[in-house]
Structure formats: structure tokens, C-alpha cells
């Protein structure tokens, strides 16, 4: 079924919307969540929570790309879930967050008034400035939380190439954020 038809079902408050979403995106959503949580149980729950959240947000929202829309929801849910877990159970999102924190200086002092919207815009600008391949690698790692080996398989790049690419992108992002006065 086409995305538009599924969205129409959500808008019509038809329960078939969930069934069709599960058929089309269930596995993909589960794998996104699993990359971030490293837990089958958490992933299953996140998938169900995603359907619920999508049900509640539509009809207000009418996404053009349903897959990407649902992915954003499940990512946010999975990251939240990992944050609630104990510090020992770090994996997926925890590891990715830690990796992202490498671009932040150790003596960094948080300004309470950091504008989340400005941060989001700066990040979107940074992502836009990357070429397609680098963008795919960045998003696979920091949005989907995929491990390096999976990224290598999906992009056809070598392990060291991916690691170097990510390192350089983190450096570039840090520089961009400094220039924007956000770091």
C-alpha cells in the first residue's frame, strides 16, 4: 500500500492504518530501535509506542514520507528509553551519544539558554553541506545508531574509511557549532 493511502487511513481513524503500517514498516522500525536499544523487548515496545504516537499525531500531521516520519518517532522513543536505563547498560544510543560528545571540549560549560531551535537549524545546515555519501554515513551512525560494520555493508565502504569519515565529520560539526556560537 502507498504511504498516502496509509496516511488517509490514519486520518479516517481506521484501525487498518496500524495493520498496514506494521506490514510495511514494522521490521524496519524494529531494526532502528534495536540498533539504539540493543534489546528485543525494548524494541518491540518502542515499535508499539510508535504506532500509538503516530495514531495520536495524525490527523494533525500529514507526512509526505511516512517511513521517515515513523523513524523519527521511534528514534526519539528509543533514545529516551536508553536514557532511562542504568549507566552500565550503555549500548546503541548511549555509545552514539558518547561518540558525539567527543566534539565537545572537556571544559565546556553549558549555557542554560542554548536555543534548541538554533541547534536544530545548525545541524540541518551542516547535514545539507555534506555530500550524499557522507550524509548517509552520518545519519546511519548518529540518527539510526547503526554500528560501523553495518554501515560498511550498507555503504560499500571499508571500516577505516567509515571511521575516518565520521571523525572528520564530528570535527567539522564542532567547528560549525563554534562558528554559530552554539558550542
Amino acid at each position: 500500500m502507498q504511504d498516502k493511502q496509509i496516511v488517509d487511513l490514519f486520518w479516517a481513524r481506521s484501525e487498518d492504518a496500524i495493520r498496514q503500517t506494521e506490514i510495511k514498516y514494522g521490521n524496519m522500525l524494529y531494526s532502528v530501535s534495536f540498533s539504539l536499544t540493543n534489546s528485543s523487548r525494548d524494541s518491540e515496545e518502542c515499535v508499539n509506542d510508535t504506532y500509538l504516537k503516530a495514531w495520536n499525531q495524525m490527523p494533525t500531521d500529514r507526512p509526505d514520507m511516512l517511513g521517515a516520519y515513523l523513524t523519527k518517532i521511534i528514534r526519539a522513543l528509543s533514545v529516551d528509553r536508553v536514557r532511562r536505563e542504568t549507566a552500565e547498560k550503555r549500548g546503541g544510543a548511549g555509545a552514539v551519544t558518547e561518540e558525539l560528545s567527543e566534539l565537545i571540549p572537556s571544559d565546556f560549560t553549558m549555557d542554560d539558554h542554548i536555543d534548541n531551535e538554533a541547534l536544530k537549524q545548525a545541524l540541518n545546515g551542516f547535514i545539507k553541506s555534506l555530500d550524499t555519501q557522507k550524509r548517509a554515513v552520518f545519519i546511519k551512525r548518529y540518527f539510526f545508531g547503526l554500528d560501523i560494520d553495518t554501515i560498511c555493508v550498507q555503504t560499500g565502504l571499508g571500516r577505516s574509511a567509515v571511521k575516518t569519515m565520521l571523525y572528520r565529520m564530528r570535527e567539522k560539526l564542532g567547528k560549525t557549532l563554534k562558528e554559530e556560537g552554539l558550542l
Partner: protein
């Protein structure tokens, strides 16, 4: 939680808010297929062959045409485009004193290094060039005299030169006396100069 950790979380959240089109793009990203090595090698070899042939073709064609025009094994006519390139500095100065030539001409340098020219018709220039190419192989004494025929399209042709690496590069003054000018050409040149007087 340290400020660094808090900021990392904010960053992580901001990553979660990126434009959906980039998420879609990354989800559907497929690497460009690399060309197999042997296909790249074949293409490189074909390109090299094409380059070699295209570069050498004009030279081969010109050599074949020249050979076809000559009765002897020697190349007795070498075209040059800038006479000054083949002259000594003193000669260039003398040559520069000549009035500007338009169209075909017969140019000569006498034994006392003076340059002269006479305008001739394009047909005459062509005939002269053809007849010069049929020179004999007798050794001749170099008396310092030189002759050039300028064609309508600005090409200079000189007898007494054979196709040696030096002469190909228009070294007119690396004069080879091995080929004497043909009687027919000598007669034509004499007539042209006589008419001028």
C-alpha cells in the same frame, strides 16, 4: 550529569529532528557500483590507442603525402611557416627590411646574405614547388644561396633540404646540398627573377 553529557544529549536530540528528506535519503542510500577492474583497464587501453592514433595521424598523413610527391628517396621540399625561426639574428634583421609580402612569392638569399623577393601567382608557386621536388641526387656545392617559395596560405617551401630530424623543425640553415634544384625549377626561377628586372 556533566555539562558535556547534557550538551551531548541535546545534540543527540537535535540529530533526531533533522529533515525527513535526509532520513529518507539515508534509508534508501545505495552505494555506486564500482566498475570492475578489467573493464576499467579495457577502457583505459582503448582511450590510449585512440589518443596515439589521433595524435600521430596528421604526421603520418603528411609524411605519406610528401613521399608521394617526390621522385627520389630524399625529401627535397620542407614547408616552414615562420621563416624567421630558421634564421640567425643578423638574417632576421635583414629579412625584416623587406616590404611586407602578400600572396605567393619567391624569396631568395644571395651569397652576400641579402634577401630579395618577388610576388608570383599561386599557380606558379605550386608549379615551382612540384618541380623543385624532382631534384637529382648529385652533390652540389653550397655557395650560400638559398631559395624559398611562399605559397598563398603562408607556407614557405625550400629546396635543398632533405627530411632529417633537424629539417623537420624548419631548420632551413642546416642546409643539405645533397639534392640539387631541378633544371626545370632553376629555369623557372631564373625567368621569374629576370621578369622582375
Amino acid at each position: 550529569m556533566t555539562d558535556k553529557e547534557k550538551y551531548a544529549q541535546k545534540l543527540m536530540d537535535a540529530v533526531g529532528e533533522i529533515d525527513e528528506k535526509y532520513i529518507y535519503e539515508a534509508q534508501n542510500y545505495t552505494p555506486k557500483k564500482r566498475m570492475p577492474g578489467y573493464i576499467a583497464a579495457i577502457i583505459a587501453a582503448a582511450a590510449s590507442m585512440f589518443l596515439i592514433i589521433s595524435l600521430s595521424f596528421p604526421l603520418m598523413l603528411s609524411l605519406l603525402m610528401r613521399r608521394g610527391n617526390n621522385a627520389t628517396d630524399f625529401e627535397s621540399v620542407t614547408p616552414i611557416y615562420q621563416m624567421e625561426h630558421s634564421m640567425s639574428k643578423a638574417d632576421v634583421k635583414t629579412y625584416a627590411t623587406l616590404p611586407k609580402m602578400t600572396g605567393a612569392a619567391l624569396i631568395w638569399r644571395t651569397a652576400d646574405s641579402g634577401y630579395s623577393y618577388v610576388s608570383i601567382s599561386e599557380a606558379k608557386a605550386e608549379r615551382l614547388i612540384e618541380s623543385i621536388g624532382k631534384g637529382s641526387e648529385k652533390p652540389v656545392q653550397d655557395d650560400g644561396a638559398r631559395i624559398w617559395i611562399k605559397t598563398d596560405n603562408g607556407e614557405y617551401v625550400s629546396p635543398h633540404l632533405k627530411l632529417t630530424p633537424g629539417n623537420v623543425d624548419c631548420a632551413v640553415f642546416e642546409y643539405s646540398p645533397e639534392i640539387a634544384i631541378s633544371d626545370e625549377a632553376a629555369k623557372m626561377i631564373a625567368n621569374i627573377i629576370e621578369e622582375r628586372k
